[in-house]
Amino acid sequence: MSAPCDLRASVTSNKIFPEDYILQAIKLGYKTIAVDQTITLAQLEKVHGKFQFPVIQAPQSFLDKLSKLEGGSSVKILSRVTVEYSAQTRFHKQIKPALEKFDIIAARPQDDKALERLLDEEIDIISLDGGLKSAYFLKKELIKKVMVKDLVFELEYAPCVSDSSVMGNTIQLAQDLLTFCKGKNLILSSGHSNPLYIRGPYDVINLAVLFGLPTNLAKETVFGGALNVVKYAEGRKSLSVNIDINQRKV
């Protein structure tokens, strides 16, 4: 079953769970929302010899409020971490346990070499920063390797709403991705904590059409593409087992 997903609802700058943002997303029709925390590797604290980073969970009062909303019980809220990654940094084995507490792991490369190095890591999303002008030169061979690994590129539309220069850069990235991978390994997410900047699923589809995707593919990207990422992340988290069987209540 496909359902609209927003995989980047950012926590606020003072690390508070974005309750208003999530309520607005549910009102607009999203069924799966991932709350994102962006970190640099320098921010990981070492406690008792192990790197740790706290996961900001939804408060119980918010979950109670959500269960009373119409359709609120079927909404999934996931945790996500986005690691800013440059050519000089590297995912150490010690850092991985800190990141694996999150449902979705994303990486934001700062340049091409960082992007190439990310292919060796166990991540789910490669988040492209539209604010970095001409940071990426997306090569066809690199994108093919990303497609073979079933990773997806993520573009954010919320920064485009507030800044027209970011919009131009984002469109350029989208055009490059469309040229090389025909829009198959691409998802769109909001990437903000202010509820004013989130848009409904059909508005995001229209934005994808503006970027150059055919309407059918744009709808599949918003409705199914992000959901595939969630399923892939669930499979990755299952670690040693290849099949994860859960008993469902009928």
Binding site: M1, S2, A3, P4, G29, E70, G71, G168, I171, Q172, Q175, Y202, I205, N206, V209, L210, G212, T215, N216, L217, K219, E220, F223, G224, V250
Partner: protein, 368 residues
């Protein structure tokens, strides 16, 4: 250097128009209305008319029903014999989106149509066909299962009935929130009987009232001049049917429709829409809106009522809005939702019995 953007194309939608006379033997008006069972809004526009002059007491059914049921209850033999074969039953699942959830409907002809996701279809186990409007080519994500409940071979003891009964009783037991209306053939039987039946077998069911609103719109001071025998603007002195369609939409959305010369600069900021040429000055428009699950019988009653009163007003319009998430729109043809699920039609009635039937179809709709 500017980035070359692709040529933007709007989702495909169509407008179908028929111009004929109500008494013409080949007129498709009544068939068109009867083939479009799932409607949520009925709008009546009468130019140059006021509320007290309209004489339009809503004589249709003011009630419909909402229930939370399982599909297995719809194929009980008792239900089919008592309600489906002895009246006009229209049932549609509510609060579910057709493009990513399961949707069910039961049309007045007795066809149970299930528009299921791939997971639900594989779980159900009844033969169906892939949706004609699957989003991704080569990947079937939605399936359509259609069962004719009125067929003589759909009886207990027959293979296909027992198979359907087992599938709905054991494999597909989810509950659906549905809305329905029932018009019995025998007028001595109350339509609420269906609701009582569902309650007797343990389902929740409640009555709902349609929302009725009548208003005068004195700010609408211009309307297009129409010639009933000329739908396009080839002949001077009358507006095009496209202009009329746009004007109807503007009035329906409460857009301020004025002459261009009378518009101030601040008006142009909100809307630059002006009444198409040629137009005439009027004293306002009477508008009535009925919202809920509107039965075909009520639409036909309203149409007959307008036919009797339209001579006094020149022309009037009856607009019917179909549900965007209905699995079928016109006849048994599949309906879908891509970026829009429009299935709307307007009947423009003239005093001499001529009518224009303008139907707006969405991108995932077959031509009626």
């Amino acid at each position: 250097m500017s980035i070359p953007l692709p040529a933007l194309c709007c989702p495909a939608s169509r407008l179908v128009i028929e111009q004929s006379h109500i008494n013409h033997p080949q007129s498709k008006l009544y068939k068109h209305i009867k083939d479009h069972p799932f409607n949520f809004m009925l709008e009546t526009f009468i130019p140059n008319c006021r509320n007290e002059e309209a004489n339009l007491n809503y004589i249709g059914s003011s009630k419909y029903f909402e229930a939370r049921i399982q599909i297995s209850s719809l194929i009980h033999k008792a239900f089919i014999e008592a309600f489906i074969k002895r009246g006009t039953l229209q049932l549609l699942s509510c609060h579910s989106k057709i493009d990513d959830e399961d949707v069910i409907s039961l049309s007045p002809s007795g066809h149970l149509v299930l528009h299921l996701t791939k997971q639900s279809y594989q779980q159900l186990g009844i033969d169906g066909k892939p949706s004609a409007y699957n989003v991704k080519k080569g990947s079937q994500s939605k399936y359509v299962v259609e069962i004719d409940l009125t067929k003589p071979f759909f009886q207990p003891g027959k293979k296909n009935y027992e198979n359907a009964r087992n599938c709905f009783a054991e494999r597909h037991t989810q509950y659906y929130n549905v809305m329905f209306t029932w018009t019995p053939m025998d007028e001595s039987i109350a339509p609420v009987s269906v609701c009582r039946y569902f309650q007797s077998i343990g389902y929740k069911c409640k009555e709902m009232d349609v929302e009725l609103s009548s208003q005068d719109m004195p700010s609408v001071v211009t309307c297009p001049v129409l010639n009933p025998h000329h739908i396009s603007d080839e002949t001077e002195g009358c507006a095009d049917y496209l202009d009329l369609w746009e004007w109807l939409g503007a009035v329906s959305c409460d857009v301020n429709v004025r002459e261009k010369d009378n518009m101030k600069d601040e008006d142009l900021y909100v809307s630059t829409y002006t009444c198409p040429q040629p137009h005439q000055h009027i004293q306002g428009v009477f508008r009535e809106t009925v919202t809920g699950l509107i039965s075909i019988t009520d639409i036909l009653s309203r149409l007959e009522h307008l036919r009797e009163h339209s001579p006094a007003h020149g022309w009037c319009v009856l607009t019917v809005h179909g549900f965007t998430d209905a699995p079928v729109s016109w006849g048994s043809k599949e309906h879908g939702f891509l970026m829009d699920g429009d299935n709307i039609y307007s009947v423009v009635l003239f005093s001499d019995g001529t009518y224009w039937l303008i139907s707006g179809l969405g991108s995932h709709d077959a031509c009626p």
